[in-house]
């Protein structure tokens, strides 16, 4: 018996009850479409995390003031930063595995050039900050050691700030005002684009650490700075040795966890924290955090995939159910086919073919809907979506497997009918 004949007979039977065939296929359609959308979103999230991971590098530790344990990159509001320049120097001098250490303070304000002004955030950075954070200069020479040592009035602009203030014009050498303080532009940073968390990494200006402390945090108010040396300082003013963040890189990624522990021990000592008391700082291994999130995402995609698979399973059971009904309904047909020479194997193949057509047809429609759904998800939501051809292959394999698995039993049942019994029905 030829395959084309089997196929023709199966199609003929399915056409005879086309509404039922389509409703049966619906289970598979929904299941396959769900699998594709879920897996695509899962893979998209994964790819996004991989990208963040790659941009972070795997050898960085970040030290923040405040004990905020495990809660993302957040700072305890209102508390004074507990980290100091001395902490940074101690880390550099006492932990040999450390490659670079950089500290920075942060603030925000207006940057003004001629008639234009732009509201941005500024960072006061120590010498190795650019290296540690992989910032490169597009224009200009950047800060000189003298700038760092003497709180020079020099500034490096992020690409966004440069564009907003200067457009196409020459920036290096110009004088801009930040919080009223005139500063000379000595460089423009190469653009980085989006940050891992969705913001504009280039909307920033950088000044030397001491410049920020003395001239920006003093807020153009020398009197306040002078008062700070003697009396109780205004709460808004930062003690002059405090920093918002210390960033550490290690030469070898394997040392990361060890260095993390070393830093903790060292800072606890320096901050005179009693055993049992909580840290007043936190050391974060960002790549580890991303890795944790990656695991969570994997688990989520696995769960989503499982839910989708269950709907596919239900679809398969639907096929089996309908095929069993069909065998019962068509028992006389089966008997007659056997009487005119159809052997058990040809009957089995016919019924299996019917189940396969339902599941493969449903699979094909499901793949189309799944792709459309994944594209729509990418277009109309913020969810990252990666549509991989492997997903399509997998969906095809799934629908074949569903048809075979759930079609086999009814087909076998049909093939085992006694032709005499079947004809008498």
């Amino acid at each position: 018996m030829k395959h084309t004949d089997i196929l023709g007979m199966a199609l003929f039977a399915l056409r005879g009850n086309w509404l039922r065939s389509i409703l049966t296929a619906l289970g598979v359609i929904i299941g396959i479409a769900a699998v594709i959308v879920m897996v695509s979103v899962g893979q998209g999230t994964q790819a996004e995390l991989d990208r963040i991971m790659a941009s972070l590098g795997s050898n960085r530790l970040e030290v923040f003031p405040g004990g905020g344990r495990g809660g993302g990159v957040r700072m305890a509001a209102g508390s004074l930063p507990s980290l100091t320049t001395g902490d940074m120097e101690a880390i550099r001098d006492e932990i040999p595995e450390v490659q670079y250490v950089a500290a920075n303070v942060r603030g925000g304000g207006q940057v003004v050039f001629a008639e234009r002004n732009w509201s941005t955030s500024w960072q006061g950075v120590s010498e190795d900050f650019m290296t540690v954070n992989d910032w490169r200069l597009d224009e200009g020479e950047g800060f000189t050691p003298r700038d760092y040592g003497t709180a020079g009035k020099s500034v490096v602009l992020g690409a966004t700030v440069r564009r907003e203030l200067f457009g196409e014009g020459e920036a290096v050498g110009a004088t801009v005002r930040i919080a009223q303080v005139p500063m000379t532009v000595v460089g423009v940073l190469a653009a980085k684009g989006q940050t891992g968390w969705g913001g504009d990494a280039d909307d920033v200006v950088m000044v030397p650490l001491d410049t920020a402390r003395r001239r920006l945090l003093g807020a153009g108010n020398p009197a306040a700075a002078a008062a700070a040396a003697t009396a109780a300082r205004p709460a808004a003013l930062m003690p002059t040795d405090r920093v918002n963040q210390i960033t550490v890189t290690v030469a070898r990624a394997e040392d990361l966890e060890f260095v993390q522990e070393e830093i903790t021990t060292l800072l606890r000592q320096r901050h005179r924290i009693q055993p049992g008391a909580e840290d007043d700082f936190s050391v974060r291994n960002l790549s580890q955090m991303v890795a944790t999130r990656t695991q969570t995402t994997r688990l989520m995609s696995l769960l989503l995939g499982a839910v989708a698979s269950i709907s596919l399973l239900v679809g398969g059971i639907g096929i089996m159910n309908i095929m069993l009904v069909s065998v019962t309904e068509r028992i006389r047909e089966i008997g007659l086919r056997m009487a005119v020479g159809g052997g058990p194997s040809s009957v089995r193949r016919q019924f299996l073919a019917e189940a396969m057509i339902i599941s493969l047809g449903g699979g094909a429609i499901g793949i189309a809907i799944g792709i459309a759904g994944a594209l729509a998800t990418a277009r109309f939501t913020d969810l990252p979506v990666v549509l991989d051809h492997n997903v399509i292959l997998m969906a095809t394999a799934f629908s074949v497997a569903t048809g075979l698995f759930f079609g086999y039993y009814p087909a076998r049942k049909a093939s085992r009918l006694d032709p005499i019994e079947a004809l008498r029905m």
Partner: protein, 241 residues
């Protein structure tokens, strides 16, 4: 009419049954003995009628010699092959190669046209698609239904359905034709035509087994086996116990 042994020009026993018995639902309260100790042989090219009253076991016997069913007792050799030794697949192949059925209840598939019904055995015989239709049209023309090829069974009269069933049974030109009351739903003129067709088949070398309870129909056959209450009462053959 009485069995005169094998015909000289076709001496091969196509159907040989020995002490055949059939019990339905054995060992249950619904146990029915439909056949007991039936022995006979039919040679190739014979036209044999099986007669008997209703419920005597004629259809049961036809199912057995058509390899649709297996005997409870005794032995059945179809063209020398002991059917009991075959599995379902092999029996199906044997039916395909050797036997055409005309069932008492026609058994046409309701969703198919007369033509498609007639073509069905060709599908299983592996006849190429393009050749099937002309063969089936010819078979329908042979039974006088050329103009009804596209009709569904429900759009045909009882007699027309019966003729479609006959055309289907003949389409493979099977060596053995088993027909259960093939003229039951036909008027006498059409019935005579069908019987003449059977005689022509016999003359062409086919073996025809006709089940009927009408003596007039049985008269067309070369000989008659009479069955009553599951036992052969006339026309049987002596075989070794």
């Amino acid at each position: 009419m009485d069995a005169g042994g094998p015909r000289p020009e076709a001496p091969v026993p196509v159907i040989q049954v020995e002490h055949l018995g059939k019990v339905y639902n054995p060992g249950t309260p619904g146990e029915v003995r439909a056949l007991s100790d039936v022995s006979f042989r039919i040679d190739g090219g014979e036209f044999v009628a099986i007669m008997g009253p209703s419920g005597s076991g004629k259809s049961t016997l036809m199912n057995l010699i058509g390899c649709l069913d297996t005997p409870s007792e005794g032995r059945y050799l179809c063209d020398g092959v002991d059917v009991a030794t075959l599995d379902a697949e092999q029996r199906a192949r044997l039916r395909l190669a050797k036997i055409g059925f005309v069932f008492q209840g026609f058994h046409l598939l309701p969703r198919m046209s007369a033509l498609e019904n007639v073509m069905l055995p060709l599908v299983y015989a592996g006849v190429p698609r393009a050749q099937r239709e002309p063969i089936a049209r010819q078979a329908l023309a042979d039974v006088g239904l050329a103009d009804r090829a596209g009709h569904r069974p429900t759009e045909l009269s009882g007699g027309q359905q019966q003729r479609v069933a006959i055309a289907r049974a003949l389409i493979n030109a099977p060596p053995v034709l088993l027909a259960d009351e093939p003229t039951g739903a036909l008027d006498s003129r059409t019935g005579e035509e069908i019987l003449a067709l059977f005689e022509r088949l016999r003359d062409a070398g086919h073996t025809v087994v006709l089940i009927t309870h009408e003596a007039g129909v049985a008269a067309h056959a070369d000989r008659t086996l009479t069955i009553r209450d599951g036992r052969l009462v006339e026309g049987g053959a002596e075989v070794q116990p």
